[in-house]
């Protein structure tokens, strides 16, 4: 049977002649191995995948439509729910987009604080992705230990914003409060103890023969195809293209920091795993630099028309009360304009295409969601591979349902 489907070089023969001999397998929408609500109708020959037909949209929540009825500051909670594994990056990206629209300059301290929060989020996101690759190969141990570390990052979010998963952190114009001493203590403790534990986790998998045999060559993509599919982030870098928004179009003072961009070669699951592991180390480097060189100054910009004032001032000073009222009621002088702002999300270029007509709410807001764009390459990447490799490919691409379906 299998030589009917694959020729002597292992390539697929034409599908027309063999249809009818294949089994159809419905994987998902809810399946424990798919980490989210994804459906794939697979045509399989034994355990080999001949074709896949993904269906998406199971948790579509019409965020772009919702944003057209919400004042700018109320869009932040929507962005939380895109890639919920690294919500702070989405929040910051949105704040920076609006700041770009209104032409506001941030104090250096705000930039550095944002960099710390965003890099923590990147670590949390990559930890989930990489430890889950371990789970899908049968190695649960690393996952349980790395989830403890992720919990510590969530504790850090909690110190800044009071929330853990959907953080809604920061404001347009900076932060709502400065980093507390408790946050600083916890962050220093994290930076001291995390690297050793992370390297221990790394040593469980990176040169583990069983793991390597499972992931090397699973779900590969060439650099050319990855570019054609508009890949970005770790998945593109694993294929060998060193494109990173933090370097190409630095935002939030990323140009001040010294860090490397890891790239892979084959674009397979092992390369994606390796790239993310190295990015975690680089993120730690960035956080350390930001902490060391943290500038003095204010934790928010001096733009009273856009920055929601602290509540205690609203109750005690006339100015703050007026601005609070104006911002909440949508009387702020938002200029009309059209911007595209991109940040390096944990999964790649997260873009905000924002059109404002000077009204209270965005006229149009489009999220460039990296997951949505690169998930369409999935059928091509798993064609001809084993079903168990397809599961690995999906988890190593880090497809997040919230970001995929918006």
């Amino acid at each position: 049977m299998s030589d009917l489907i694959f020729n002597e070089k292992g390539q697929l023969r034409s599908l027309d002649s063999i249809d009818g001999e294949l089994a159809t397998l419905n994987l998902g929408p809810t399946h424990p191995a798919t980490h989210g609500i994804f459906q794939n109708v697979l045509k399989v020959d034994g355990e080999r995948i001949v074709s896949a037909e993904p269906t998406v949209g199971y948790i579509h929540r019409a965020f772009e439509k919702l944003a057209e009825r919400r004042p700018f500051h109320q869009v932040t909670p929507i962005t939380d729910r895109l890639n919920y594994c690294s919500a702070p990056i989405n929040n910051m990206g949105w704040h920076m987009s609006v700041e770009k629209l209104i032409g506001a300059e941030m104090p250096k301290r705000v930039d550095y604080m944002r960099v710390i929060v965003m890099e923590l989020a990147r670590i949390a996101d990559h930890l989930v992705c990489n430890s889950v690759i371990g789970v899908d190969t049968g190695a649960l141990t690393g996952f349980t230990y790395m989830f403890q570390e992720r919990e510590r990052i969530y504790d850090l979010y909690e110190e800044i914003s009071g929330a853990r998963l959907t953080t809604n952190v920061g404001r347009i114009g900076g932060f709502d409060r400065d980093f507390s001493p408790a946050f600083m203590d916890k962050l220093r403790d994290f930076l001291k103890t995390f690297p050793a534990r992370f390297e221990e986790f790394n040593s469980l998998l990176e040169r583990n023969r069983i793991f390597m045999d499972r992931v090397i060559g699973a779900g590969p993509i060439t650099a050319e195809r990855a570019l054609s599919y508009s890949f970005a982030g770790p998945n593109l870098r694993a294929a060998g293209v060193d494109y990173d928004v933090r370097v190409m179009n630095p935002y939030s003072s990323y140009e001040d920091f010294d860090f490397d961009i890891p790239v892979g070669k084959d674009g397979d699951t092992y390369d994606r795993f390796q790239v993310r592991q190295e990015e975690i180390r680089q993120s730690l480097r960035i956080i350390e630099q930001a902490l060391e060189n943290m500038p003095q100054g204010s934790y928010h910009a001096d733009i009273p028309s856009f920055y929601i004032p602290p509540k205690q001032e609203v109750y005690s000073s006339m100015e703050a009360l007026i601005y609070h009222f104006k911002i909440i009621m949508g009387e702020t002088p938002i200029p009309s304009g059209e911007i595209y702002h991109a940040v390096e999300g944990a999964n790649g270029e997260l873009g905000y295409y924002l059109i404002s007509d000077g009204g209270r709410t965005p006229y149009r807001l489009h999220f460039r969601r990296p997951c949505f764009i690169y998930y369409q390459a999935y059928p091509e990447m798993i064609q001809g591979s084993l079903l168990s490799d397809a599961i690995l490919t999906m988890s190593s691409m880090n497809v997040i349902a919230g970001e995929l379906d918006a």
Partner: protein
């Protein structure tokens, strides 16, 4: 072709010349475009004859140059050629644009709804579909803006 105040180059292209323009940009020696960063549509109900605008964000990695291509089309003849032959990634982005705005992409291999359910009989991001119940008067636009 013009540069807006945010430094982005905007190019208006008629629908019939879109493919030519994309191919020329991909072949342009000084700054070849490699990435179709984003594709979406915008609805301007007040612009007669140009109600819909399909917006393409392109990126030349070698020169780190971003471009924005716009194709304005009428809502009752909302057809633009597909980019699937130029960028494999255009496939789902075009399906999304069709799903939400009803723009038909000529030559698309599989133009179906993607995020909404197949039975839906309208394109929800068009401006005539209000987000909230229109009989409500506690959120009057007159007082609260759009």
């Amino acid at each position: 072709m013009e540069q807006d105040s945010y430094g982005m180059v905007n190019i208006q292209v008629p629908a019939e010349h879109l493919i030519e323009a994309i191919q020329a940009l991909k072949a342009y020696e000084k700054a070849p475009v490699q990435l179709l960063t984003d594709l979406c549509a915008v609805h301007y109900p007040d612009k007669a004859g140009k109600e819909l605008e399909v917006v393409y964000h392109l990126h030349s990695l070698t020169q780190n140059l971003r471009l924005r291509l716009k194709v304005a089309i009428a809502q009752d003849a909302a057809t633009v050629p597909t980019l699937c032959n130029e960028f494999a990634g255009a496939n789902w982005m075009e399906r999304e644009t069709f799903d939400f705005y009803g723009v038909k992409f000529e030559g698309h291999p599989d133009l179906r709804r993607i995020l909404n359910m197949d039975q839906m009989d309208y394109h929800p991001m068009l401006k005539q579909y209000a987000l909230e119940d229109e009989t409500r008067d506690d959120k009057d636009d007159q007082f609260f803006g759009r």
